[in-house]
Amino acid sequence: MTAFVPKPDLPPPPGSVGLAGWMRQNLFSTPLNGFLTVVVVWLIGSTVWPLVHWAFVSGVFSGRTAADCRKGGACWLFVADRLVFFVYGFFPRAETWRVDVVFAVSAAVLAALVIPRVPRKPAIAAAAFVGLPLLVTVLMHGGIFGLAQVSTDQWGGLTLTLVLSVVGIVLALPFGILLALGRRSRMPTIRVMSVVFIEAWRGVPLISVLFMASVMLPLFLPETVHPSKVLRAMIGIVMFESAYMAEVVRGGLQAIPRGQYEAAGALGLGYWRTMVLIILPQALKLVIPGIVNTFIALFKDTTLVGIIGLFDLLATVQATIMDPAWPDVATEAYLFAGSVFWVFCFAMSRYSQSLERKLQTGHRRR
């Protein structure tokens, strides 16, 4: 009987690992791939590099007025000059601390809900659901506790964008869930009403919804009720996005096997307990990509309120373009606005991915 002699471990061939190995496998594996790699690198070099050069290398970041800007380089000076306008809109300068307080509290609530280790999230969420609107009304609208009243028409810039988006996001999800459940209901009245609502609000563009909300809503309301433009825009956005959210949630509900409903029923759980404890947790988990997609779209759709005369972030940036003090900053202005939107949307996207990772606990073996 011969003894077992283990063979020594050898290092892999040099061209197959490390950067050279990766490049060989992924970029130059066949002659066609190699050619395509060269073409793509040339394309990137000829388009992206000039942009980066114009924006950052020749860009002017310090100075006071348009005169300090160089030709052939991006002029970013308007950002510092107009930052207060971009963030607060027409809010009176002396009262902007109130907006800061609302931002700080909201950021704290958001951090508490997002960071995994913070306990009692449902309680925090419930308290915020009730408390934050109150805080916003008292602090930002004012008129009580000795605070000067600031009409909502003066809200603008990033403040307005965030207010519209957060209200839209926070209300569209529960309404969407109710509509989705209604559409799947066995009671004909509820089902018909849900279908009509969804198809009506989904079928018209958001621009016309905002327009109608702004112009027609006052006609339907009694003489004494005068909702502000911001409130009308909020209502329009929430109705529109709920209809979209309803269909996303319905997709998730459809994916839950009938056995789950049957098992819950056989255990004696009624309709609402089955939905809240068993079905919705599974269904919502399934459609997190769709839900976050809708949220991100909502955030960007708020730019349409420019059509009814509200000055959200995009509109304030556009106003700067029209301003004679800053001629010819159109490209930089739109790039700036786009970057701000991108930062928020990307943050939502990253959070959604981390949420999905966290919620994979035992749900599927993958």
């Binding site: 096997p257 056995g259 789950q260 049957e262 098992a263 819950a264 029923g265 056989a266 255990l267 004696g268 759980l269 009624g270 307990r273 404890l277 068993i278 947790p281 599974q282 988990k285 606990t361 035992g362 749900h363 599927r364 073996r365």
Partner: protein, 255 residues
């Protein structure tokens, strides 16, 4: 608190099905079903697929609705009245072929959910009952795991424990071992045999004839929506009276 649903006089029977008929649209799926199950009685229902046996037991806890005839469970008639349905579902437990555990909850949470939310049992008591029942089905160590981490046989035993946590008076089994590998069938059948020997009223739809011989008080053969034959197991297996029964037994007992 809603008033208790009306109970009929005859409470000696756990389940009474009288002249029950069910249609799926125009298709007559259950024809003139008459069945009376006494308390502590064990019934095994067998038959070819499509015979309506699963549909029949699903009518007992109103997972399916019957269009004519009466079903009375523990004295509570099954009608459109939601209170009756909820009362029946509280007292009747069901185990499904595909387990239907809730994948987003741990085993312990699966078992505690219904007692806490339906019977309003406090959490500590529900957990104690659940652990005791998990021990009875011999998987107390899996309490903190998720269903996706368990084997089929373990999942089915959790499903049995989950139903038992509601302290039902009647247990319904809808082909509980049909989706299991052969090695796991035994562990589930052992649990069911123990349950039967402890005196639970049960109706079991199954193809496991060994289980029927061992535990059943009556074996019922169904075909084409009708009850063809019912007898105690010795008579049923050795002296089947109906031709259809003989044919079925020859097919399934041969292998």
């Amino acid at each position: 608190m809603a008033e208790a649903p009306q109970r009929t006089a005859a409470q000696d029977f756990a389940i009474e099905i009288a002249a029950m008929n069910k249609w799926y649209g125009a298709f007559h799926v259950l024809k003139d079903i008459n069945l009376r199950v006494r308390r502590r009685e064990r019934i095994v229902v067998c038959g070819p697929s499509g015979s309506g046996k699963s549909t029949m037991i699903r009518c007992i806890n109103r997972l399916e609705e019957h269009q004519s005839g009466d079903i009375i469970v523990d004295g509570v008639p099954l009608t459109q009245d939601l209170r009756n349905i909820e009362q029946v579902r509280r007292d009747v437990g069901m185990v499904f072929q595909h387990f239907n555990l809730f994948p987003h909850l741990t085993v312990l949470e699966n078992c505690c959910l219904a007692p806490m939310w339906v019977r309003k049992v406090p959490r500590a008591e529900a957990e104690a009952t659940a652990m005791a029942l998990l021990e009875r089905v011999r998987i107390p160590d899996q309490a903190k795991k998720y269903p996706g981490q368990l084997s089929g046989g373990q999942q089915q035993r959790v499903a049995i424990a989950r139903s038992l946590c509601m302290m039902p008076k009647i247990m319904l089994f809808d082909e509980p071992t049909s989706a299991l590998d052969p090695e796991m069938i035994k562990e589930v059948l052992d649990v069911m045999v123990e349950l039967a020997e402890d005196g639970m009223t049960m109706i079991c739809v199954t193809h496991e004839m060994g289980f029927a011989r061992r535990v059943a008080d009556r074996v019922i053969f169904m075909d084409a929506g009708q009850i063809v034959e019912e007898n105690p197991p010795e008579a049923f297996f050795s002296h089947p009276q109906n031709d259809r029964t003989k044919l079925f037994l020859s097919q399934i007992l041969d292998h």
